[in-house]
Subunit: 197 residues, 2 copies
Amino acid sequence: MVICNPPNSPDEGMTMTAGRLEPLVPPENFAVVEGGIYRSALPIPANFGFLETLGLRSVVYLCHEPYPSSNCEFLASRGIRLFQFGIQGGKEPSAIMREHAITRGLKVLLDVRNHPVLVHCKRGKHRTGCLVGCFRKLQSWCISSVFEEYQMYAAAKVRPSDLMFINGFDVSVMGLYILAIMYRFHCCNSHSRRLKF
Amino acid sequence: MVICNPPNSPDEGMTMTAGRLEPLVPPENFAVVEGGIYRSALPIPANFGFLETLGLRSVVYLCHEPYPSSNCEFLASRGIRLFQFGIQGGKEPSAIMREHAITRGLKVLLDVRNHPVLVHCKRGKHRTGCLVGCFRKLQSWCISSVFEEYQMYAAAKVRPSDLMFINGFDVSVMGLYILAIMYRFHCCNSHSRRLKF
């Protein structure tokens, strides 16, 4: 079984029910964005066994609604930090609020001290798709590939306003933040290769 | 830009054309399977700039056809090792040949000395989908989530024979191989966490 950190015992990360190993159930729309960055829909309790195998250090939650109490309990019991940057769920969320939330979400993703990190909204389609889309722009992906990935998760629910937002998002606003991280990790003759730029 | 290894200069990994930085073009159907494992359709020369940013150590190619000469040249120039385990491209490939190829492909994926590794066939749908599906079974994913991921990449081209193959694939045949790798890396009080089990 491939997970982020080797388990201490062969069975760690599996759900044990009545002495039997149960298969792991990833959240809906789950995928790996990069090593240490995951995306999905809102996890339900049936997914907690799977999430344990990821060894998460943090979660970025992009909805306005309070985080479900069962999810709060799961995170608290595993020492996982929750970052909530709420974006309205409709087709036309406030532009300023969305840009603010996406920028803050990107900062969390870029800082490997938060990894492994799971990004999710409710269905893992639109708000999560916007954040991942902007992240891909930071990675210099061409815009058609960014849109193709967005569409793969949004399926029949593609929102033109999301595509316009991703296309118009100015990644240069992240420049100073990236420089600050690079300085923090690389200025003092540190040869650690923790920062994945 | 997030890549596997930090570049030596800020522009490394970007395609420079006439003094201008060009956006990176991932291959069709590109995705991250796990940290260090990627999947896609057959890369074309326009994708080579992107592939460079992944710092690939190996490629698993699942077609019978000879590897295109431009791709061979790219791999050779970057010291990337090619593993070719050919499976026929039709709807009903030979069962024995497919099982043999998938088993050999899994062995390459499981050995982190081959990472970062890119798995691809022609379109990144069926043969690649089978290999990734069996890899997910090794990760103890429930079969419905394995199928959901397969369908995301196969889109309208889902092949029932592929789903039956994945469902029937006996991951226990990998048991001895996994034990051999674990023994090799962990037997001598080595505390390296290279092996991601």
